[in-house]
Amino acid sequence: MFASLLRRPEAGSFLGLVVVYLFFAALGGPVFLGAPGWSSWLNMAAEVGFIALPIGLLMIAGELDISVGAILPAASLTTAIISGHYDLPLWLGIAGGLSVGLLVGFVNGVLVTRTTIPSLILTIGTMFGVMGLTLGFTILIAGSTGVFLVPDPVSKALLGSALGGMFKVGIFWWLGFVAIVAYLLHVHPWGNWVFALGGDRESARNAGIPTARLVIQMYMLSGFAAAFVGVAQVISFGSAQVAAGSSFIFNSIMCVVIGGVLLTGGAGSVLGIVLGTITFAVVNQGIFFSGLDPNFGSIIIGALLLTAVLTNDRFRALAASFVKKKGPAQ
């Protein structure tokens, strides 16, 4: 039982999380263990985790999406310009922001499937393109690089409030999204297609999987997720900035990799991605409770990432041999 748990791909990320959590618990004490600690890392996990989920799907399928870093501010600004600058109803602004994400995702997907250009390069291109469009249009329309928005109470409650002043409502959206993606990846046949795509694209196509449509759907999902975070940010902060979002590019990839998904494609799980995200958030926020220099957190994350990557295969091999030796006695 224990050994079979160890052999699951998430085992490494789970152990990493336990070690990291205990480390910061020892340094941060009751404040970190209590509501302030939990809310700070959960809030961060929810934001980066929302984007990390579809990025993880893409990486399982062997693709990357860098453009999320530009979609996030593009969606924030679209919402803010529609509902703040032009004072149109907020639902229109939200719909506009989310559509930007879906549209960029669609373009990414079509370009990736129609050309032989690696998705890394392609989405760097769309990232620069969307960044430029966002900047250019924001200056053209609003005349400045920041746009204000006063959300109505219902939207504010749904997308931008915090329970007890600490736990942002985004946490629940994230958990809901986790459930949906987990269903899609692990229960629905769609998930099987994603794994097949990452394993061997040619065989997947020969097996009758609509690979092009699948890739486009995944890019639209990641575009949507980035746009959703952008829209939620503008509603909770009341303003949108053109410069937000670039940190999400590497942060989301790191969450996914710490969660045991390698770029080589074909393997990974939603649970792993969630554990990776939490680990990342705990290190990032826990450092502020620990009294250590905040920059020390980067070292830990870099080390975690490398350890996750390097031990992934070896760990499973080790677990397998453990079973062989001790198996009959248990």
Binding site: I124, D293, N295, F296
Partner: protein, 324 residues
């Protein structure tokens, strides 16, 4: 003409001409633009990093840890020779040494595991960033360290020629010549192309694939720390931030320069022209009536056009010989 189009740098040269034409239409005085220092300085700093990154891409690998190596090089020289007041020689050795060390780590991890080098260097990027920041704080108590370097060092690494052009431009030209020799004239170049084409066949042909991969990673990390070192000497101080922009900028410059990300194809001349094009778009836009905020859009569009063109050129280059 068709012979020119088959060359890897053809796309980059055409892109540069197209951008210059666009900017002339946008109201730039070409004489003013070409005489300006801003974009040449920008190109030189980026170009020194872009060439070894491009070599890695030709060999089928990727290095994004350069983003941390630029501030690392600055910090190393500033902490050793500025904060501790040791000889500038030691500071320079420290800056370049840290590059060699990280390059070794990147290279060894890449050849010893089956993990894509993009992911490995993402890990070392973040770890290195933390190390620099923490190191600077712990050793000096601040995130910005002063450096007073001796005159000769300023002459060689941090001079402004004519008050505007950074001396690093000369370094760029020199290093480009060295890399050009390495890739196009020496046998190592042939090995790099072969590695990018097919690693297993390259190994069977007797090429020391592992050693060469490690060597290329050392070159890229050291080039980045060299740029950081020159910046610290020029500006008399080192900042912990900065450098992240180089990651995507270098990749764009290399790809616009005609290098295939899938490996096996590209040229140093192409990378140099790709860097020039990128720099003209990023900095030359100030000389036009075009709002500078559109420069990102132009760079993004240019990248996508460039990759599409690379594909077309590659197909053209591989087109079967015509029967006479």
């Amino acid at each position: 003409m068709s012979r020119f189009l088959r060359r890897p740098e053809a796309g980059a040269i055409l892109s540069l001409l197209a951008v210059l034409a666009l900017f002339t239409l946008g109201g730039a005085d070409l004489g003013n633009l070409l005489g300006a220092a801003s974009w040449v300085n920008f190109a030189a700093n980026l170009g020194i990093v872009a060439i070894p990154v491009g070599l890695l891409m030709i060999a089928g690998e990727m290095d994004i840890s350069i983003g941390a190596m630029i501030p690392a090089g600055s910090m190393a020289v500033a902490v050793i020779s500025g904060h501790y007041g040791l000889s500038i020689w030691l500071g320079m050795a420290g800056a370049l040494g840290i590059g060699v060390a990280l390059g070794l780590v990147n290279g060894i991890l890449t050849v010893r595991t089956s993990v894509p080098s993009l992911i490995i260097t993402l890990g070392t990027l973040v770890a290195m960033q933390g190390l620099i920041l923490t190191g600077a704080k712990v050793l000096t108590g601040t995130a910005s360290v002063e450096l007073q370097s001796p005159d000769w060092a300023r002459q060689v690494f941090g001079q402004l020629i004519g008050g505007s052009h950074q001396v690093i431009i000369l370094w760029w030209i020199g290093l480009a010549a060295v890399f050009w020799f390495l890739l196009h004239q020496s046998r190592f170049g042939n090995w790099i192309y072969a590695m990018g084409g097919d690693k297993v066949s390259a190994r069977n042909a007797g090429i020391p694939v592992q050693g060469l991969t490690i060597g290329l990673f050392v070159l890229s990390a050291t080039s980045a720390s060299f740029v950081g070192m020159c910046q610290a000497i020029l500006f008399n101080s080192a900042q912990v931030s900065g450098g992240m922009g180089y990651i995507f900028n270098a990749i764009v410059a290399v790809v616009v320069g005609g290098v295939l990300l899938t490996g096996g194809f590209g040229s140093v001349l192409g990378i140099v022209f790709g860097t020039l094009t990128f720099a003209v778009v990023a900095q030359g836009i100030y000389f036009t009536q075009i709002d500078r905020n559109w420069s990102n859009l132009i760079n993004g569009a240019m990248l996508l056009v460039a990759v599409a063109m690379n594909e077309a050129f590659r197909k053209r280059a591989m087109a079967p010989l015509r029967r006479k």
